[in-house]
Symmetry: C2
Subunit: 421 residues, 2 copies
């Protein structure tokens, strides 16, 4: 049997232990992990230094290198995030519905862990602790497969956390970090459909496409956010401008940042100059449709590719639309099912927008930047699902569980002739 299959099988066996762990044991486990991260900060930083050295030698610099870098306060922040997850309500065992059937059967729907979750990521080393803590809090065993740049940091963090598992007589395999980062090994992992209950790819478009193409296990994609702000004819312009500036400029590199502005034609002549003033001052490049360019001479023309793009940068695509229906049509064509905003004072427009838009998060008069598990009340998130199945939008601990049926009777049979007594 292959190494990766053996690792995954051990992880599945460990999942059985986690399945029956009560909430207080999991909280105590996570608090122990947070304390251990604090206590082993030096070890983690030493490993991180090796990653930074290798990255620098490869010519990595700027934001990329910064994302990789840990320091004492960042390790403390990782430990703090684990403590916050430990404070969440335990989703496992939650009875979501209860009913007594006419024949007396008591039917309950109860949340249980999914089992084994494989997390495929490429970003900062903090994901190693974050994802592990959230999966464990929901009673799942976890297989982590991070990026090569952060391997030493990831190994050090995982080792600290695994030691804490072992101290509590939980198999360390419950938290398995894959150190063999060859693509063919990832493909093998993604095909273990008898072992892995869910794989979550989180990262760039290339990674997600690769995972989607090779996975034979269920996956929930955390795909791109081509988020739209539609300014209705009835919009409060000052409010719309605040939401646009927040959505586009407060953190342009994240998936809930705005990429496209749609403006009702009746408000365009008044609103567009304000957009130009506010955004050019903040260094945002604007790319517009024909109609918007007659209102803002000299603005670069937007292409079809611009409307489909997740810029993750200080660039905004703009289109003037005839009406709400045209705005909805644009979003249906170019959107990525992530987050869309309408700014309006008209309740009927808001209702129609919410009813027609199928994205994971729909905002009425609020910033797209609130599309985040913490901001929407989940406490923590493992990411934002753009797969319209199981969980859609920000995923917290509860989204790492599933409802099943527990039925209690007093000997009821379905077919009367089965009764012998």
């Amino acid at each position: 049997m292959s190494d990766i299959r053996n690792l995954a099988l051990a992880c599945r066996d460990a999942a059985q232990t986690l399945f029956s762990l009560d909430g207080e044991s999991k909280r105590e486990l996570l608090r122990g992990m947070a304390a251990a991260l604090d206590a082993h900060s030096e070890t983690i930083l030493a490993a991180n230094a090796r990653d930074l050295q290798q990255a620098a030698a490869k010519g990595v610099q700027g934001a990329m290198l910064d994302r990789l870098r840990l320091d004492a306060s960042r390790v403390a922040a990782i430990a703090h995030a684990v403590r916050e997850i430990a404070a969440l309500p335990d989703p496992v065992g939650l009875v979501t519905r209860q009913e007594t059937r006419p024949n007396g059967l008591q039917v309950e729907r109860v949340r249980i862990p999914l089992g084994v979750i494989a997390m495929i990521y490429e970003a900062r080393p903090n994901v190693t602790a974050d994802a592990a803590a959230l999966c464990l809090m929901a009673g799942n065993a976890v297989i982590l497969r991070g990026g090569s740049e952060a391997l030493h940091s990831n190994v050090a963090i995982a080792q600290v956390l695994r030691d804490v598992l072992e101290q509590r007589d939980i198999p360390a395999a419950a938290l398995t970090l894959i150190e063999d980062l060859r693509r063919e090994t990832m493909v093998e992992l993604l095909q273990l459909s008898d072992i892995i209950d869910l794989a979550i790819p989180r990262g760039g478009e290339g990674l997600i496409r690769f995972v989607a193409e090779h996975a034979r296990v269920p996956i929930i994609k955390h795909y791109k956010g081509v988020c739209h702000l539609y300014v209705d004819a009835s919009a409060d312009e000052a409010r719309a401008l605040n939401l646009l500036v927040d959505g586009k400029t407060s953190r342009p590199g994240v998936c809930n940042a705005l990429e496209t502005l749609l403006i009702h034609r009746d408000i365009a002549a008044s609103f567009l100059p304000k957009v130009v003033a506010a955004l050019e001052e903040r260094g945002v490049e604007l790319r517009g449709c024909e109609r918007s360019r007659t209102l803002v001479p000299g603005m670069r023309a937007a292409t079809e590719e611009d409307y489909a793009a997740e810029f993750l940068d200080l660039i905004l695509a703009i289109r003037v639309v005839d009406d709400l229906g045209a705005a909805i049509g644009h979003i249906q064509r170019f959107g990525s099912d992530h987050t869309e905003v309408i700014v309006t004072r008209n309740d009927e427009s808001a209702r129609r927008f919410v009813q027609a838009i199928r994205s994971a998060v729909v905002m009425v008069n609020a910033s797209s930047r609130f599309s985040d598990g913490g901001e929407l009340g989940l406490g923590a998130e493992i990411g934002i699902s753009t797969t319209r199945l199981h969980a859609y939008g920000p995923m917290g601990a509860e989204a790492l569980t599933v409802e099943r049926f527990v039925v209690r009777g007093e000997g009821q049979v379905r077919h009367p002739s089965s009764r012998l007594d």
Copy 2:
């Protein structure tokens, strides 16, 4: 572009219409479909006669041929089932949670349709109407791919239902039946990951394996049921016998029938002879472990394959176990995550069983045969999921929807410096 891709794209466009349909419109639509099935019973029976003729010519007979056969009362039953689905509560638009955040944002979780569901099946022609009605009631467009034996019947039923859609100005593509039944066409369908939100394979092991191997779209498997009944040391023997007879003999060919009996060693000597008496009289063949064979001389020995088998027949595998833990271990090793039963008078045994068993349905002192959407209160079911994601166990209309976020604000921004006013 290929034919199948074009068909699927038209179905996706139609899904947009269904997305915003209100509950009463969907109910009226389904009632119209039920009436049309009744009105066109003759046409459907004529098409079914062609299927039967072809099947007979191919040598199909017995239960297989009977499953294919429709008559006036069976068509009436299909129409009745559609009427029952029309009477279900509309799962779409249901607000499952509501919260006001400290910053005043009103966050709602609201159920929406999945979008486009592909149903892959091979069984009776009634699935064509059942699955279509349940998908439509949950606001989804549906692509149906049935078996070749029932093609004429399926085409006739689908045509009747599509006419009803068109009469209500809903694109008929919302209910698309695939008539090209080549395997390569099914593979193409299963790879349309930009169009299809969920594929549900329902049928024999071969079909499900084929779909799982080729799908690049999300799938929820309706896999086999290797269901266990565990008779605890404290069990009421008469009750255990009723549940065993009901589970094994009331309908042995279905997935919630029992396949394996586990008996605590302390009760085996007393209980096993009663099992033999009750089941042999009903024509059930018993296959047991060494210990059970010392209690029932002449009983055939059970193999590892027997314990893993979904017999779907009057055969029962038996094992005497040392204790509850051994019973749980056996189920973890051989079970298929479908339905397991414990018979006990000991609350602690029941609690431990429920806590350790990860199957979709766990029964305490009730028959496995109740593992069914209708019996557990869902009204109707599209099948029983053995995939521990999204929906686990019987799936009703609600399982064909997903929760998303609707957020209402008054201009809130995430970063204070974004405020210009």
